[in-house]
Amino acid sequence: MSTAIKKAEYTPAMPTSRELSSSSATGRGRRDGRPHLIYLAIGFPPAAKSCAYRMRETANQFRRIGWDVTVVTIASTSWERDSGVDYSLLEQVDPGITVLELPLAREDLETDIRMFSEERALRPAKWVTDLRKREKRVFPEPVFGGWRDTIEEAVLGLHRQHPADLLLASCVPYVNLAAAWRLWETHRVPYAVDFRDGWSIDVVNGGVAFTEESEPGVWERRILDECQALWVVNDPIAEHYQDRYPHIAERVHVVRNGYDADSVTTVQPRRPDPEAGLVFGYLGTVNYNARQLGAVITAWRKARELEPLMRNARLEIRGHIGAGAAREANGLTELISTAAADGVSFGGPVLKAEVAETYANWDALVLILIGGRYVTSGKVYEYMATGLPIVSVHEIDHDASRVLDGHPLWTGACGLDEEGLIDSFRSAARMTIEATEAERAGVRAHAAPFTRETLMRQAVEQLAEGIVRGGADSTGVVSPPPRPRMTDESRQAGEVRA
């Protein structure tokens, strides 16, 4: 696949709903009989965000089964001020996919001071607070609420040009839901929602994020009542939604993130050399807090003192840190720099194309994750697939623990307990020396069912099947699909965890 993606042209003057009413809805106006997916995927490549892989695979899978796919995202340049861009991510995008880049950007992440009003320059914090209020007046989501009109109009315009059979909204941002609803209301185009982590659940701290009576609560219920399917990344989140909205329980599906096979295919474990220094690595978005990182560094320092194998060890942290003005320059980078003498360093982001090579230079991995039982980082699958020892720095009751349970080169989770972390680092150091190739191969085999391609193929096929079936309805109104059946492969994937 090439990096040349097909781009749709965004025109601000979008057709009115009246104009659109003459065009048909579901299944109607297909080009060469191919159904059409409008995929709201803000974070699609080249955005250097963790969600980009899931989005790319989702779009590719729809293409694979013969759909026309139009991805709606924001301008590539807008990611420059966010977490950055990685154009190598585009290499795996199916060239048949059309991408519509909307001229949207996070105003709060603007770093060009020339674009600031005097009021913003004078009172930057208040300006952001006021911005949040304004955004929430448009849609009950801070940061992105103000994008509502643009996304809605874009979706309606796309549908006018090329009638859609399905809209799939990947959230965050949740404002995508407003566009899905608008298209449903005006043209009865069925939609599905990929919540990934869920909206009404606070995945980091646990518990409910907002009540059903609140404005977002009303929105969520309204959306989920009519959705074809709701995807989430793990069982605890799925259970939350099934409990909260029992009437849609059958439409809630766990679609795990998985990992990209090409990120680890070339990982050939290097020969660990404690004299030259074992190399521990972390790869992923650095979104944890200073307390967590502080615990890691403290334990690392002591482990180096105690463990002869770690005397010359290094800890390399790679990935994106911060956004906007704080990009690669926040308290975490400061904390990392204070541990330079202990062999801790920050090396910046890694291009997707260089992920495998990066893993190949490490002897062990450090998995630092926020949240608890509702959080499953996509990285956990990738880490597992490398066959390298893993030190976990996260809550014991974390979904990653369930994924890693039984992994022979996993040191186990102990929260932020200092002694536990020191032991974990020391154990991992020993594993790097002692692990047999058979053990490593076993780990990689366990990870195999979690390739992103496998997981997404199943999810997409199920969703598409329901739509294609529903599209035959002569009324043009699509009924919510029946609960998709579990495939053998997905069952197998679930069993690996146990």
């Binding site: 420059e80 001020r81 603007e110 770093t111 060009d112 001071i113 020339r114 600031f116 009003s117 005097e118 913003r120 320059a121 004078l122 009172r123 930057p124 914090a125 906007g324 003005a325 704080a326 990009r327 690669e328 320059a329 308290g331 980078t333 400061e334 904390l335 990392i336 720099s337 204070t338």
Partner: protein, 711 residues
């Protein structure tokens, strides 16, 4: 290579700063830092290309009470903008970077003026900006101008919109430094402020903003041009007058003689007259004071080689003579009772008053303090806050003089001064400036008032605020000063004028008689070079002339250097002087001695004393030199040359020369041999001691102060 200016509102974490600087330098930037920095925490590996470290609390510190409501960002900006280095860096930086939220406003403000720079918040965006600049040639002045200059038509069409809708940012962008420095920018804004059919309020608002831009661009003449052009379009005469006044003030502040000084003075006086007629004395006084301050600014008269007052005194003063308000102020009030005769049954009570400057009073005070027929008190009006507040209060003085009734200021002055007047039989006020104006605000009762006018006062506004009808004796230090003063103040030519005296300054010249070595014959000397009016370049020319004949001649310059910042003329003069001095110092022809307290000792080595000034009252340094036995060579001071009284009437025939050539001739002649030189020096010394030494002069003072008063 790009220059990056990092701005810190709070002290950056050491690791963060270290990383930031390294990343920027790796990207090919020179990195400078200004703001809150804890220098002790600066990592050793940080190699900044420039640093202006300010206290860590600049985002909290209040520079003034008015700043209590200022945001942290404004406080940071208020502090940083005071740093010249920071301003310079801000102007030249390619990338301006705010390291924290409190630094954003500072960068925002800097970016308004440095339009070619990238302005970023955060280090990574700054690195991207630096990388983005690589390979791009820096924009030239024209390119910058072109990218920031709106069309003239656009400005004219959208003036209201620009000003009202997008006030600061829009205007700041198009009044940026390069724009304002260009002819095109000036023309653009001239067209804008002349746009027809807009309100005075709007026109004024635009002009003020543009003037601010010109100020930032160091173009005071452009600033004045804009304000003058605006004034000509204003409908309200008062607004017009004020703006013309502002235009002239800006030029004077920059040390430039205003192009439209007369228009500004005329306009201000016209409005002052109108207000005075309407009984509005406070604004009338304000306007009159502004007109006076403009007309008598030292840039015009003191800090340059010429003065319109010297060239055409009557013509220069004419607008004030034609002004109702100014003539009302100058109108004599007289005194109800004449000064009483000196007491015969007790010592004369003499009050000597001045405001800080007692340079020429020491011998006089000492003399009368030990004089059995005098009881003396000394009043320094600057030493007491209450007295000081009524002394240098020009506007209130003017208001009092303009008012028929006593103003609160008048009552206050009365309260402060009356006890002194009641005690004294005679008040001797030194310097005809504010103290003289203050003492004559009041009717002195029976107290005799004596005022001494030295020289520079004639070039100031104060004589026009003094009521000479309340002065009994007016003392000058030289006839030419008396002549100029009486020309400028017509009352002094009338029948009721005070008695006028010419008394030499009190100098102890006996102490200057120190034997000179033989080689002093070739040593020219000059005492006092701290003002343009001393014109040392003239002395250098004389030196060159004599060195053509004999390179043993040298020049010794005694005294502190002149201040280059008081006027453009001073700055240019000093530049030229330094250039010429450098050349002459290299060959040992000139030595600079600097300030000294022991002038007699320095003069012992001087064989020829020069007075190269364009104006003087009585040149004390010259007189001291003559007393020391140096041969005096005096330029015919151009301010007074050719008038009935001048240097030629003050000094003996032969001392005064009309040109450097004549000066050289006199020097060569008098120093031809040691004998001729010593003879000429002795003759000069004899004259000086016989005429100007304190034992002689004090008799004149006794006659003035005591008359025939004998107990």
């Amino acid at each position: 290579m790009s220059d990056v200016l990092l701005v810190a509102g709070v002290p950056p974490q050491p690791g963060f700063l270290s990383s930031a600087v390294h990343r920027l330098q790796e990207a090919g930037a020179r990195v400078h830092l200004v703001g809150a920095v804890d220098t002790e925490d600066l990592p050793a590996d940080v190699r900044l290309d420039g640093l202006c470290a300010l206290p860590g609390d600049i985002a909290k510190a209040l520079l003034a009470r008015a700043a209590a409501r200022a945001t942290p960002g404004e406080r940071v900006w208020a502090r940083i903008r005071r740093e010249r280095w920071a301003r310079e860096q801000a102007r030249n930086a390619d990338v301006l970077v705010a390291l924290d939220p409190h630094a954003i406003y500072t960068v925002w403000r800097m970016a308004q003026r440095n339009v070619g720079a990238d302005a970023r918040y955060g280090v990574q965006p700054a690195v991207q900006a630096v990388i983005g600049r690589q390979g791009t040639p820096p924009p030239g002045a024209l390119q910058r101008l072109a990218s920031n200059l709106p069309s003239r038509g656009m400005v004219r069409r959208n003036l209201t919109h620009i000003i009202n809708s997008a006030p600061r940012a829009a205007i700041d962008a198009v009044t940026a430094r390069p724009v304002m420095r260009s002819k095109a920018g000036t023309q653009l804004w001239l067209a804008a402020v002349r746009t027809p059919k807009i309100s005075d309020r709007l026109r004024t608002k635009v002009a003020r903003q543009v003037a601010k831009g010109m100020d930032w661009a160091d173009r005071p003449e452009g600033e004045a041009l804009i304000l003058t052009a605006t004034a000509q379009k204003l409908r309200t005469p008062a607004s017009r007058a004020r703006m013309l006044g502002d235009a002239a003030s800006r030029e004077l502040k920059a040390g430039i003689p205003p192009r439209n000084l007369n228009s500004a003075v005329d306009a201000l006086l016209a409005i002052a007259d109108e207000r005075h007629r309407a009984g509005k004395q406070t604004p009338a006084a304000n306007l009159l004071n502004r007109a006076m301050k403009l007309a008598f600014d030292r840039v015009l008269h003191i800090d340059r080689l010429t003065s319109p007052l010297a060239e055409d005194p009557e013509g220069f003063i004419a607008p004030f003579r034609n002004s109702l308000a100014a003539t009302t102020v100058a109108a004599p009030r007289g005194r109800k009772q004449p000064a009483a005769k000196p007491p015969t049954d007790r010592p004369l009570r003499l009050l000597i008053a001045t405001s800080a400057n007692d340079n020429f009073l020491k011998l006089i005070r000492a003399h009368y303090e030990s004089h059995p027929q005098v009881e003396i008190r000394y009043l320094d009006l600057a030493a007491d806050s209450k007295l000081k507040s009524v002394t240098w209060a020009a506007t209130q003085m003017l208001e009092q003089r303009l008012s028929a009734e006593e103003t609160p200021y008048g009552a206050n002055a009365e309260e402060q001064l009356r006890p002194h007047l009641d005690w004294a039989d005679t008040v001797f006020v030194d310097w005809c400036v504010a103290p003289a104006a203050l003492f004559t605000i009041l009717d002195p009762g029976t107290t005799r008032i004596v005022v001494r006018l030295h020289s520079y006062e004639t070039l100031s506004r104060w004589p026009y605020m003094v009521d000479f009808s309340r002065i009994d004796d007016l003392v000058f230090v030289a006839d030419h000063i008396k002549d100029l003063t009486t020309t400028l103040v017509p009352y002094l030519q009338g029948p009721d004028a005070p008695r006028m005296h010419v008394l030499d300054n009190a100098m102890d010249l006996g102490g200057f008689q120190i034997d000179k070595p033989s080689d002093a014959r070739f040593q020219l000397g000059m005492v006092g070079i701290s003002q343009v009016a001393k014109d040392p370049l003239w002395a250098l020319e004389v030196l060159r002339q004599v060195r053509r004949h004999d390179d043993r001649y040298q020049l010794l310059l005694v005294g502190g250097d002149m201040n280059p910042n008081v006027s453009v003329a001073s700055r240019k003069y000093l530049d030229t002087l330094n250039r010429e001095l450098e050349e002459l110092e290299t060959v040992g022809a000139v030595r600079r001695f600097g300030p000294t307290d022991d002038v007699p000792k320095v003069l012992a080595d001087v064989g020829v004393i020069l007075s190269s000034s364009v104006r003087e009252g009585c040149h004390c340094g010259l007189m001291e030199g003559a007393a020391s036995g140096a041969v005096p060579v005096v330029r015919d001071w151009p301010f007074f040359a050719g008038r009935p009284s001048s240097a030629r009437t003050l000094y003996p025939q032969g001392w005064v020369v009309g040109s450097p050539e004549e000066a050289a001739e006199r020097i060569l002649q008098t120093t031809a041999t040691e004998e001729t030189w010593r003879a000429a020096g002795d003759e000069a010394s004899t004259h000086a001691l016989g005429e100007w030494d304190w034992p002689v002069v004090k008799q004149h003072f006794d006659r003035l102060i005591l008359g025939d008063h004998v107990i």
